[in-house]
Amino acid sequence: MTSIGWSFVEVAARLLEGDEREAVLGDLLEAEETGLQGALDVFGLAIRRQLALWKDWRPWLASFGLALPGSLLLMGFSLSVSQTYQRLIHPAIFKATGLTVGPGFTLLLCNVFLLIGWSWTGGFVMGSISRRTVRVSAAISFLPCIFCLARFRVESLSRFCLLLFLLPAIWGVCSGLQIAQIKMRSALILAAVITLLTIPTWGSKGLWIPNWALSWPAWYLVVMAWRGHAMKERERWRTH
C-alpha cells in the first residue's frame, strides 16, 4: 500500500473506536489491501457501526426530539433576548453613564438566565443520552442555524445574535459527555429554577409548547438523577 493510500485509510479509521481501529488497520496491512480498497472497507465498517447505533431510540430522541427543534427554538429565544437588550439598554445613555436600567431589566435578566439554563440542559442531555451519535446530533442542530443565518434580515442586529445559545449549549454537551448524570439535588434545583423563570411567559397562550419543548431536558435530568439514586440505594441494600 502506498503512503498516500495508507494516509487515506488512517484518516477513515479515525471514525472507528480505539481497539477496533487497531485490529482493522492491522488486518488491512496483513492482507496488503490497496489504499482505495482499504479506505472503502473502513468507511463501510464505520457506516455499519453508525447505522447499528440508530436501532436504539436514544439517538433519534437526541437528534430529532432535542437537537433540531431545540436549536430552532433557542435561536428564536436568542433573538428575542437580543432585541429586549437593545430596547432596554439605550446605547446613547449607556455611553454616558455606563449602564441604564430600563423597567423590564429584571425580565431581561430572567430571560438571559433562562437562555443559559435551557441551552445548557439541552446540550447536556444531547451529550449524555447518546454519546456515540453526538456528532450527528450536533450536525443536525446546525442545519436550522445555517438556514436562519443565511436568511437573517434585521438591520439593527448582528446575525450572530441568533447564536447566543451556542456557548452554553456546547458547554452542556461537553459536560454531558464527561458525566452521564448530575446529582439529584443539583438537577432538582436546576429544573425548579428553569421552571420558575418560565412563569412570566405562562400568561401567553402560544408559548407553553416552546416552553416545555425547551424545559423537558431539565426534568429529564431530574428523572435520570432519581433513577441513579434509586439504583445506588438498591445496591446498598443488597450489599448489607
Binding site: E22, G26, L29, E30, L45, R48
Partner: protein, 109 residues
C-alpha cells in the same frame, strides 16, 4: 437460528482454533467460499455473535507484519458450537432428497 454468514464465521473460527482472528477468518472464508468478505461484514458479525454469547474476543499480540498493531482474537464458545451444530443438522435434514445431494451420493439415477 444462525444466518448463513454467521455459520461461516463460527465454522472458520472453530477451524482456526487458537489462530482465529479478524484477517485469518476473513482469508479462510474468502478461500473456502470464493466470495469477497468485507471488513465491515466481518467485524459487525463478530460483534453480533459476541453479543449473542456465541463468540468471545480479546485483543491479542501485535506482530511486525501488521505494523505493530494488535489482533482481535476470536474464540467460539460452547453455545456457539451448539448453534453451529444445530444449523449444520438443519442443512443436512433439509437437503435430504434434493437432487444434487442424491446425485453426489450416487443413490439416484
Amino acid at each position: 437460528m444462525l444466518g448463513e454468514f454467521e455459520y461461516l464465521m463460527i465454522t472458520a473460527a472453530a477451524g482456526l482454533g487458537d489462530k482465529a482472528y479478524g484477517a485469518a477468518i476473513r482469508e479462510e472464508i474468502e478461500q473456502t467460499t470464493g466470495r469477497k468478505c468485507s471488513i465491515g461484514a466481518l467485524y459487525t458479525t463478530i460483534e453480533r455473535l459476541e453479543q449473542k454469547g456465541l463468540l468471545t474476543t480479546w485483543m491479542g499480540e501485535a506482530t511486525a507484519e501488521r505494523g505493530g498493531r494488535a489482533k482481535r482474537m476470536v474464540r467460539v464458545t460452547p453455545k456457539g458450537v451448539k448453534a453451529a451444530r444445530d444449523f449444520y443438522e438443519v442443512v443436512i435434514r433439509v437437503s435430504r432428497g434434493a437432487s444434487w445431494v442424491a446425485n453426489r451420493t450416487g443413490s439416484a439415477s
